[in-house]
Amino acid sequence: MNLLNAIAVGLKEIWAHKFRSLLTMLGIILGVASLVGMSALVKGMENGMKEALIAIGGVEKVRLEENDIPSYQKQLADQAVGCTMNDVYALQQSAPLIKIVTPEMRTRDATATHGSKSYDPWIFVGTWPNALEMNQHVIEYGRMFNEIDDEQARNVCVVGVGARDALFGSPEQLGYEYNPVGEQITVKSQPFTIVGMFTRYESEQDHKARELAKAQPPEPPSTNGPARSRGWGGKRGGGFVFTLKNNTIYIPLNTMWLKFRATAGSNNIPDPRLSTMSVKVADVDKMDQAIQQAHNVLMHTHKGIEDFAFQTQEDWADSIGKAIKNARLSGGIIAAISLLVGGIGIMNIMLASITERIREIGIRKAIGATFLDVFIQILVESVVIAVIGGASGLIASMALVHFLSYISPTDNTPVITVNSMLIAFAFSVGIGILAGLFPAFKAAKLDPIQALRYE
């Protein structure tokens, strides 16, 4: 008996017991669907986390922060200098494992105004032009301020879309993208010229949703009370990292220093300290050495007082990796167990089926079916159930993923991967083979005489 025949016989047998077969398949369908669904959820989670990690500057970015002085150096506290430009120059010169150093100086209560509109940026910092690379910013309009702007402490700024939307109108309000380059804004009574604007930072999912919304005619504004902003938190999918980046205003470091800090220190003494400093290591694999190197350099500039600490994204990246791995493992195990249960269902039904068909098997053997013929017939039947179940499970998985994201919307769209589908399908076929082996063996080794006598 060739394979095609065996498959035809198997299909006929399954069709003859439609309901029973369907129930059996259901185990496999649910198993496959949950395997693919689980993996899609995890994949979505992973994508979201990775997007955010990259948006914040990637793993190679390390922040230098002021830190409490260790207790054994407490008596030196009044000599601690904090992070200053000295550190920046020292690192640039003496730490070859560090590629970029970006100083940042902030000021409090920076409110930007334009005409009657005002806006509080989340980040208002004076920095170097290389902040663009450090923080993975992308210019949409205009340019980043440059070294000359910085040297001459010009009143220029580069803004995120959040500032533009608040001060000049968002595309949703205006119906078009407003280019704010050349406009004047005022911060703490200092006029600033906008020389550039960053692109809109958003998760992959938000991007798609917005593209979709753009393609459709705008809905009439709801007349539900006066117009109001609903805040950032409520905005679905507005990942914190992206919101933060969108609400950034950068000005040159020297501008910050001269226009705001030099006059506004406590007791009107100019405060030379940087708020933070970010460094980017040249090679992530040499993270430890690079930090050690930077540490050594800074210990020198800080007169041996360890009033600083390094903060890397490694922990974040590690915890992403760990969370993904755990989610994948536990999800995979649960789904695999449900597939296994489906397999046990198949084996159960196959055992019942061969018991019903002992006489048939005897007849087949009497007229010339070999061990292998019977073995393959039963095995194929089991595999056919698994294959049909597996294929239906793949279809069901799409419905399941839709259902999951419907009942519990997350920031991360679940992503069904081809890999997970292949694995789930292969797994279900494997389960079908495993489940069929024992019943097939049992049937094939039936003694024809006894089988023929069986009532």
Binding site: M1, K12, R359, E360, A366, I367, G368, D373, I449, L452
Partner: protein, 243 residues
Amino acid sequence: MALIEVRNISKLYHLGGEEIRALDDVSLDIDGGEFISIIGPSGSGKSTLMHILGCLDSPTLGTIKLDGTMIEKATPHQLAGIRNRKIGFVFQFFNLLPKLNVLQNVELPMVYSGLSSRERREHSMAALKLVGLENRSKHRPMQISGGQQQRVAIARALVNNPKIIFADEPTGNLDSNTGEAILELFRKLSSEGRTIALVTHDPEIAAVTPRRIEIRDGKIAKEVDPKLAGLNRIPAPALSANP
């Protein structure tokens, strides 16, 4: 050389410490083209003998040579092939597969011998024609009478053109008229040169075959063979069984 050479076979069963000799030192030859009946009371070992001759079962002792092959040396796989190509079985309870229609039942031996579906169809229709059921090919076994079912079983037995057909009480489950017709069919097949061994407990049925072997308690008790001149010679039936 005989088609089947049986030498000193015995079949022993052990039931709760008791030894049952279902067959006890049986030897016989069957030539190609013979029409033979194996007769004996119930429990005498006829079916056991037929199963062993038909390669469904193996003897405890003794040797069998079928068409030149020593059966006891053959692997289970080879035995299946022999059953498939060289032997046709007809059973008392028809043993058709209820889920298949008449045509598919007749095709089944050819499925295992690996014929193409076109060939299978041709041969099956020819076999069904031979037993007079060509217009029932799409019926299920449950939709036709017992006699017709037995004809289908006969068609299935001869469709692979076997060397010998074994029929175990083929009329045992049929009324006498239908049984007559089935016997007539066997007679016709025999007259066309086929080798047939008929197993029965009924002397009247055994009377249709030229050669008769009587079994009692697993032993050959009496043999009537037209080839053996003189003794026990009975008038040959209307047809000549031996070429």
